[in-house]
């Protein structure tokens, strides 16, 4: 496959454009996605190419955006709705959790919607433009949760999200948008859900993570490599479904595990992973499972506070050293 070097943002944009070209049922809706091309420019140029009826600028109405997507999906469309920031999905909670998530189970009618959620911190976005609410939705039966880390996955997982007959929450990490570049195949491909990716190979310790923390883990692992400890970095790619087999296999091989996420710690998805390791791989462990996550507070604004909030490379490296020495 011919590939091209692209940013994570370009990969999302190109992937979405490719889906809209191949399937007339796919359309975009959200705040400022049309004329303005989206707050982060993911849909830039879309209205020119696909017309205003497939790239819909919506009122400030997250409820109506998600509910509207649900209604259109029930009528056979494949809506891709954008929350301007993942944080704003709180205004549409009811429609994801009460209507879309339960519709197939109750009524037998699938709801194939994709909700794009620009998430994550790192730029003083403050309490309302920085959150990572993936675990809230991973807890809701009927919703799928996708968190790509690389440009290649961003495109391939978006295609799978649009193809999937269920409501899919597609978390795109804002701190990866323009910072991360990588090879992206030109032609269409769909990256399967529930298949983790080994971002870095190692046999001494494993770090299980997703989204922007993949890179934090990788930098920490590089430091440990200098010290003679080989750390595996496992990128889950999707939380619902999540790749239990890959996690358990990696844990069995490395015997020591660290679960890392940018979301806050209590009730974060890392707790589910740690509990599963404890239930199913206890005898393979040579150390207690370690969790590194943001502390249980709102995301602060001041750079000094935000840095203390988001797990940093040094925090992860220190925890890995402790695990290695255990």
């Amino acid at each position: 496959m011919a590939t091209q070097e692209k940013t994570y943002l370009q990969a999302i944009s190109d992937g979405l454009r490719q889906e809209m070209r191949r399937d007339q049922r796919v359309f975009c809706l959200g705040e400022d996605v049309g004329v303005y091309g989206g707050a982060f420019k993911v849909t830039q140029g879309f209205q020119e190419e696909f017309g205003a009826s497939r790239v819909l600028d919506m009122p400030l109405s997250e409820t109506a955006i998600v509910a509207g997507a649900t209604g259109a999906a029930l009528m056979g469309m494949r809506p891709v709705a954008e929350m301007q920031f993942a944080d704003f999905v709180s205004c549409a909670w009811d429609h994801l959790v009460t209507v879309a998530a339960k519709q197939r189970y109750r009524a037998g009618t699938p709801v194939p919607i994709v909700l794009r959620l620009p998430s994550g911190g790192g730029f003083s976005g403050g309490p309302f433009h920085s959150q990572n609410p993936e675990s809230s939705f991973a807890h809701i039966p009927g919703l799928k949760v996708v968190c790509p880390a690389t440009p290649e996955d961003a495109k391939g997982l978006l295609a799978t999200s649009i193809e999937d007959p269920n409501p899919v929450l597609y978390f795109e990490h804002k701190h990866l948008y323009r910072r991360i570049k990588g090879p992206v195949p030109e032609e269409r491909y769909a990256t399967p859900f529930g298949k983790a990716r080994v971002h870095r190979e190692g046999d001494d310790l494993t770090v299980i993570t997703w989204g922007a923390m993949v890179y934090t883990a990788d930098e920490a692992a590089a430091k440990l490599a200098d010290e003679g400890v080989e750390v595996e970095v496992l990128d889950l790619r999707t939380l619902i479904p999540w790749d239990r087999e890959a996690v358990l296999e990696s844990v069995a091989r490395c015997s020591k595990a660290l679960v890392l996420h940018e979301d806050t710690k209590t009730g974060g998805f890392g707790a589910e992973i740690a509990a599963t390791i404890a239930e199913e791989a206890f005898e393979q462990l040579d150390a207690p499972v370690r969790r590194i996550a943001a502390p249980d507070s709102p995301v602060p604004f001041a750079p000094s506070l935000e840095k203390a909030f988001i797990p940093q490379v040094d925090d992860v490296a220190a925890a890995l050293r402790e695990l290695a020495a255990y």
Binding site: F27, S53, R54, L56, M58, P59, S61, T63, A64, A67, G68, A69, T70, G71, A72, A73, L74, M75, G76, M77, P79, D94, H95, T98, V99, K102, Q103, R104, Y105, R106, A107, G108, T109, P110, V111, P112, P141, G142, K144, E163, D164, P165, N166
Partner: protein, 347 residues
């Protein structure tokens, strides 16, 4: 701004102009009787312990529900609520499936996954309600959005109670529909009580239909006990939406003749109010109209009444024969499979 108040339908000639023939009228009457009988028989089954959970009825709203249901076209869709059994009946649900739904059996539209009036058969264009009223209102707006994108001449009907009209979902849905002039008709079943809370504690305008002006479309108030007036207004609104004329908000005024659910004796509703509205019972009213204006004979009436009785007795028996869901199927359908999207409504 005052909204229009709908006129009653006086003569058979007016009915014909509104698109109904005599057969249609008798069929509407049959649907209203069937609706009430389903809920009366359901209530008995509930007391017998054959229906788990709670039990809701729409007594007093049969005319409104059947009126709107009759006005919908074959390819139109809607999201009726807990007082709108008449819509399901009009769109053709077989009563035995309603009883199977009440009893949590596998032949109910939700196969025991949800209960009571939380049902809808997508093949009839009806999509099931949720308890978080009026969450399905903006969903119906989304259905209309799909029709607009695909340039289809179909209309979505979104129901809402006067109580739920206070929620943001109603505002966001109506605002979006107004902005895009979508082919959707909003029906507010105003039965004057949201559980125990009276209308004057729910909204401050004279009529909820007044709000339509704020969204840039027409509002109309109709007497919900007059099935023909409801039909005529719904028909006008639906055809207007179909032809690109945008949404309409119809406020259909009735009284909820029973409690919120059967556990509630509605002690908080003044007796005189019940007495007053009992004299305006939609079924009695339509029956009188049919006898006066459409020369419904004793024989015809008996035939309809006994037909409904037979239908429901057989329906209950058939529903009781429907299997209870197998616990082994508990997790089936939490997620849809790709094959499921190859259904007609997804083409």
């Amino acid at each position: 701004m005052a909204v229009r108040e709908a006129e009653p339908v006086e003569t058979l000639q007016e009915v014909k102009e509104a698109g109904l023939d005599r057969e249609d009228l008798l069929s509407m009457y049959r649907n209203m009787l069937t609706t009430r009988a389903i809920e009366e028989r359901g209530h008995i089954l509930y007391k017998q312990g054959k229906i788990p959970g709670s039990f809701y009825t729409g007594r007093g709203n049969e005319g409104s529900a059947v009126g709107v249901g009759t006005a919908m076209g074959p390819n139109d869709v809607g999201t009726p609520l807990q007082r709108d059994m008449g819509v399901h009946v009009t769109r053709g649900i077989e009563p035995w499936r309603v009883f199977a739904q009440y009893m949590g059996r596998v032949d109910g539209p939700t196969k025991g996954r949800d209960g009571n009036v939380h049902m809808g058969d997508a093949r009839m264009g009806l999509h099931t309600m949720v308890s978080h009223l009026p969450a399905m209102l903006p969903v119906a707006v989304g259905m209309a959005l799909a029709f607009r994108i695909r340039d289809e001449k179909r209309v979505a009907v979104a129901w809402c109670g006067e109580g739920a009209a206070a929620r943001g979902d109603a505002h966001e849905g109506m605002n979006l529909a107004g902005v895009r002039r979508l082919p959707v008709v909003f029906v507010i079943d105003n039965n004057q009580w949201a559980y125990s809370t009276p209308a004057h504690l729910e909204y401050a305008v004279d009529h909820l239909a007044d709000r339509a002006a704020a969204y840039g479309f027409e509002g109309v108030v109709v007497d919900g006990t007059d099935v023909l007036a409801v039909y005529r207004e719904a028909k006008r609104a639906i055809e207007k939406a179909r032809e690109g004329g945008g949404p309409t908000l119809i406020e259909s005024v009735t009284l909820r003749m029973e409690g919120h659910a059967v556990h509630d004796d509605a002690f908080y509703v003044p007796k005189e109010l019940f007495e007053e509205w009992a004299r305006r019972d939609p079924i009695e009213r339509f029956r009188g109209w049919l006898r006066d204006n459409a020369s419904m004979s004793d024989e015809e009436e008996d035939e309809i009444t006994s037909g409904v009785k037979r239908l429901l007795s057989a329906a209950i028996q058939r529903a009781e024969e429907s299997p209870v869901p197998d616990p082994a199927t508990l997790l089936d359908g939490v997620f849809a499979t790709p094959e499921e999207l190859e259904t007609p409504h997804h083409k």
